[in-house]
Amino acid sequence: MLHAVLTAIGLMASSAMASDWIEAEWSGGSGKTPLTVYGTFDLPVFKPLLEAFSAQHPEYQLRYWLASSTAIDRHVSGAQRPDADLVFSSAVALQLRSVNGGQGLAHDNAPDAWRARLFPLAVEPIVAVYHTERAPWIDQVKSRKHLTELLTDRQSTTRATGVMYDPRQSGVGYLLATQDVEQSSAYWPMLDAIGSSGGWSLRCCSAQMIDSVESGAVDLAYNVLGSYAQARVQANPKLAIKVFGDYQLVMPRTAWIPRWSGNPSGAKEFIEFVRSDAGQALLPAGSRLNQLYRQVGAPRKSIRLTPALILYLDPAKRRQFLATWDTVVNPID
């Protein structure tokens, strides 16, 4: 009892120190050796996994700090980097830049790992969400190109409004937009078509994007994280998930062990645990690694772990991309 209280006090103290950028925290295990994980995975989703690992490894005092990917990257890359044993983020480009720069510690190689240092622990399929009453016709849309044709056809009366990530506000949104650009020549015409039709709204996060669809403000939320969409669609039958048939982006949630980790062996055990069948079973079905190999009616394009990802982080490249973006997208809201 006393121990729990002391732990709680300790947690309050440390959270007070880090409160400006930490969104949530979880602590488990009464061990002496700390094992600190910085992650972007929402706590309610990730908690079963944390609890299972902590039960299996009571020798560690496991701490999970939830923060935004940009905040985590800013602190981990900064001069005053926090004590971290594992950096677990969905911002794969930022993750790759850290490891490419030599910040990661090598672990056993795996076929899907990069340089034995960056390991996918989960995936996030990217989907679109639409309102079934407001825009039932979206169900019949085959691909991005098809959507563009439907909206730009002179005889067509179909109009559509859309919402997507603001690439200036959201790291994930910027990553998904740039991946769409590299993936398909149908991307810019589609943005142009909706922009000319009903117009685009831009939001910071998946939740707000789905909110806009739910409230009836827009017809389509483009590039939403699959795990959020799944939860919201289950809660509201008026919402539906749309996967375009030309391709579906899949974003890997990756982890790496910082060179300065005080408990690299614990971090390696954590990686092994999450990647094991038992660990994967505790993740939402759509987020498991084996999702990559599941056929869903569209070719799944996992964002490849290559150093090319760091190009879009380059201010010069970012400036160029956003300049193009601004010529195509004129947000109405």
Binding site: G102, R115, P307, A308, A316
Partner: protein, 431 residues
């Protein structure tokens, strides 16, 4: 015969040298393959790095007074396909300002260079492009680590080295098999020489490889020389035996005759001379017989013949001396035809009878007894003498060695015993 100085075995020498050669070649192959593989893979890496740098350099333009360019995502992704290497790049403007990429990536003096960047070795490729003639060129740098490249190089070199070890083992097995079969003729010669009779000097007859033919021929020539030498010795001894025996025998006979007729004052000296002459004659006979024995070709002169006449003739030869001491010589010969060599057996019996007569007391008797025994012929000379001293030294002039030599030349044996006042010398000759 002295042992020749022992040199290490050919096999051991071969193993030592092969192993040394193996280690040297494997190490050299590993190093050489590494170098070749490394330089060719690095060349390939340089080419891809330069291609990407070229693409960036080609995109360089001036727009609104600013340097503008593209960082092509697919081109960089192609680099990643060649192996999970860390990648660094930098675009340096005319005023040495960093336009994009890693600002701490050092600018090169040359096109390509391997240097340590962020604690790891990286290969850097640099391209310069002048956008305006009046300003310094823009530099595009692309760099990659060489982890995978080094892994591949080591794997290639190891495979080459292992392959070489395999080939070497095969060669070593073949060399040893060849050595084994090459040494086989030598073992044949060894066996042929050790198995043959001492006096067999015939040529070695078997097919030998060219390398061993010389040895076999030399051996055969040497054998032939020995055979000729032996033949000459035999001829000489036969000649000497014939030439010396007769004059000494007649010398002894004439000395005997002279002793009987000599006047009293010198009679005893002459008699002494006669005795010495006879002894010399006996000694000469013995020596010559022994020599003849040694050089006789085995037992080629053995043949089946009556034994009684030989015994009678030997006994008759001692009749005069026996009469002087009143010793009776009895010959008992049970078997009729036996296999023996008459010349040598006569010498042996003469020797034994001589000894017996010298040892016999006056009025004694001597038996010369031939008897058939299971598997052989036994000839005994029995007298009443005191027998031989227990520790009879060789070369006592009693001729026992000659007797034994004769017995052994016949494949038999010689024994003597003393029992109940009688001495018995026995020759056993297997039939």
């Amino acid at each position: 015969m002295t042992m020749s100085t022992k040199l290490p075995s050919i096999r051991r020498q071969l193993i030592t040298r092969l192993m040394t050669l193996l280690v040297l070649t494997v190490v050299m192959t590993f190093i050489a393959t590494r170098q070749v593989a490394f330089s060719s893979l690095q060349q390939a890496q340089d080419q891809s790095l330069s291609a990407v740098a070229q693409v960036v350099a080609d995109s360089l333009v001036m727009s609104d007074g600013r340097v503008d360019f593209t960082l092509p995502y697919p081109a960089f992704e192609v680099l990643a396909y060649q192996g999970p290497e860390a990648l660094f790049y930098r675009v340096v403007g005319p005023a040495s300002e960093t336009l994009a990429g890693y600002a701490d990536l050092p600018v090169l003096e040359s096109n390509s260079e391997t240097l340590v960047y962020r604690d790891v070795e990286v290969r850097v490729f640099q391209i310069e492009k002048r956008i305006r003639n009046d300003r310094p060129p823009v530099k595009v740098l692309i760099a990659q680590t060489q982890d995978e490249l080094n892994k591949t190089v080591t794997s290639i070199a190891s495979r080459a080295a292992f392959g070489l070890v395999g080939i070497f083992c095969l060669v070593a097995a073949l060399v040893f098999a060849a050595l084994q079969s090459g040494l086989r003729p030598l073992r044949h010669i060894e066996r042929a020489l050790s198995e043959r009779q001492d006096d067999d000097f015939s040529s070695l007859e078997f097919d030998a490889p060219a390398e061993v033919t010389g040895l076999v021929n030399t051996l055969n020539r040497s054998l032939e020389k020995h055979r000729q030498l032996l033949d000459r010795s035999r001829a000489f001894i036969a000649e000497a035996t014939h030439q010396i025996k007769t004059p000494i025998a007649s010398l002894a006979a004439e000395a005997d005759l002279l002793a009987q007729e000599a006047p009293a004052p010198v009679k005893s000296e002459i008699a002494q001379l006669a005795i010495h002459a006879r002894q010399t004659s006996r000694l000469a006979e013995q020596l010559l017989t022994r020599a003849a024995l040694r050089y006789r070709e085995g037992l080629q002169h053995r043949k089946r013949q009556p034994i009684a006449p030989l015994l009678d003739s030997v006994a008759a030869g001692f009749e005069p001396l026996a009469e002087e001491k009143d010793v009776a010589i009895t010959v008992i010969s049970e078997p009729k035809n036996c296999v023996f060599d008459a010349v040598t057996l006569r010498e042996a019996l003469v020797c034994l009878l001589d000894n017996a007569l010298k040892a016999s007391p006056n009025l004694g008797d001597i038996q010369l007894h031939a008897a058939t025994q299971p598997g052989g012929l036994e000839i005994s000379v029995i007298d009443q003498g005191p027998g031989f001293a227990a520790d009879l030294p060789p070369g006592t002039g009693l001729g026992l060695e000659l007797v034994r030599g004769v017995a052994e030349a016949h494949g038999g044996s010689f024994t003597h015993s003393h029992r109940e006042g009688r001495t018995c010398c026995t020759l056993y000759l297997p039939q």
